[in-house]
Amino acid sequence: MGNSKYLITGVLLFCVLSCTKPPRNYYPDQDDPGLSRLTDYGYNIATNYLNGVAYINPYNDNSGNAVPSLVRISGNTIDTLALAWPVEQNVAYPLDASYIDLLIPVPKNFTLNDVAAMNGKRFINNTSGISLSPRYYDGPIYGYAQSSGTGPANIYFVSISIGSEGISMTGLFNGSIGTDTLITDGRFDFYMPYNYVHL
């Protein structure tokens, strides 16, 4: 009888824990419909307007919000730091999706300490770029981004903190790609475990 009590408790506990979804952490901004508030709580939420339409990083019932990656891409003379995450329309059934890459030129000897030094820095569009690239969308309808390419961007790292297990980043961004794609009012609040960081 005693063992069965523990068994039932264990099964119930497992059911409760397995039914708990990770939080979406999307808190709408009253001033910008469809966008999240600018926060620094490590919510892993990123929103922006793409030609006036609100976009957000996707959510999965099991893994939660899509986590971005921070990667240093090697170049000939200088490298490029790319902060990348997937986005989709901020609607119940998004039709298209793509990747946003924020691109910043960095020296070859760029390290984690240099990431921390970007805290509070604003990169104006002659020193940084943004790219929008199509991605395969694994949803009920397959879709692709409205356009793709690379263009100038403004990026502001409002706060960066380096932790023992990952990096927290909060910031603002906007940019344009060609004449037909305008990315505005972008904001992100990321927490990246170190397995998402490759410098």
Binding site: R37, T39, D40, I124, Y156, L172
Partner: protein
């Protein structure tokens, strides 16, 4: 067991309550929130209280309380990408908590001095409280700037308990110390706010308009009767 406790508590309240005097009271003063640790809110409370005169032993009290808020301020940072503007500005966040409470309860005890002029009431009430927090940012250019971790307007309604100690002087004037619990079921949103729901501690001055005085003047009339009787000259003098 719980039912027994409730019945016993109810009986105790009725037993402890003394003669009641019907009145409508109004009071105002100053209130301080004791639930927000880092930044307390201040109010001007306006309380309207009615003690109906259904019977000599009626302990019931009804009350409405409205707290006119002073603005609670804190500094927040706002950021912009616009290269023509300063990248960070400091704004003043103003939070105004409007608190409205409707309660019903009972007078637990009365203490009367020899002259029956000074009187203490102890009221315990249970009610429903609405707290509306209005947030605004002074000189906020919302088109160009984004506030980091902004607060938002919140409207909360829940149960509260209130305790009041009332000192009566000059027959109708009162001084009241009033304490109210925080909302029993407060903000349950997951988004963190810089403030939490209000638990006002108030010191008020006011005036009671007595009516149906016969209910409470038994002692006074009895003393007056005795005094008059003593002053009466014996027959034959």
């Amino acid at each position: 067991m719980i039912k027994l406790f409730i019945v016993a508590a109810g009986c105790a309240l009725f037993c402890l309550s003394g003669y009641s005097q019907s009145y409508i009271g109004i009071s105002t003063g100053i209130g301080r929130d004791i639930n927000n640790n880092h930044e307390a809110f201040y109010h001007v409370p306006v309380t309207l209280r009615w003690k109906p005169g259904w019977s000599n032993y009626n302990p019931f009290v009804m009350e409405v309380n409205y707290d006119i808020p002073f603005t609670g301020n804190r500094n927040v940072n706002a950021y912009t990408l616009n290269p023509l503007l300063p990248q960070m500005v400091q704004l003043q966040e103003q939070v105004r908590p409007y608190v409205f409470t409707g309660s019903i309860g009972m007078g637990l005890r009365e203490i009367v001095d020899k002259e029956r002029n000074d009187l203490f009431y102890f009221n315990f009430l249970m009610g429903v409280c609405n707290q509306y927090f209005r947030v605004r940012y002074e000189h906020y250019d919302s088109k160009n700037y984004e506030v980091l971790d902004p607060d938002v307007n919140v409207n909360l309604t829940s149960m509260v308990f209130t305790g009041e100690a009332i000192y009566k002087f000059h027959n109708n004037m009162i001084v009241m110390l009033r304490a109210q619990t925080p909302l029993l079921f407060g903000y349950n949103g997951k988004y963190p706010l810089s403030y939490t729901n209000v638990a006002p501690l108030q010191l008020s001055f006011g005036y009671n308009f007595y009516y149906n005085k016969g209910h409470d003047d038994t002692g006074r009339r009895r003393r007056r009767k005795i005094k008059n009787h003593r002053n009466e000259k014996p027959y034959g003098e």
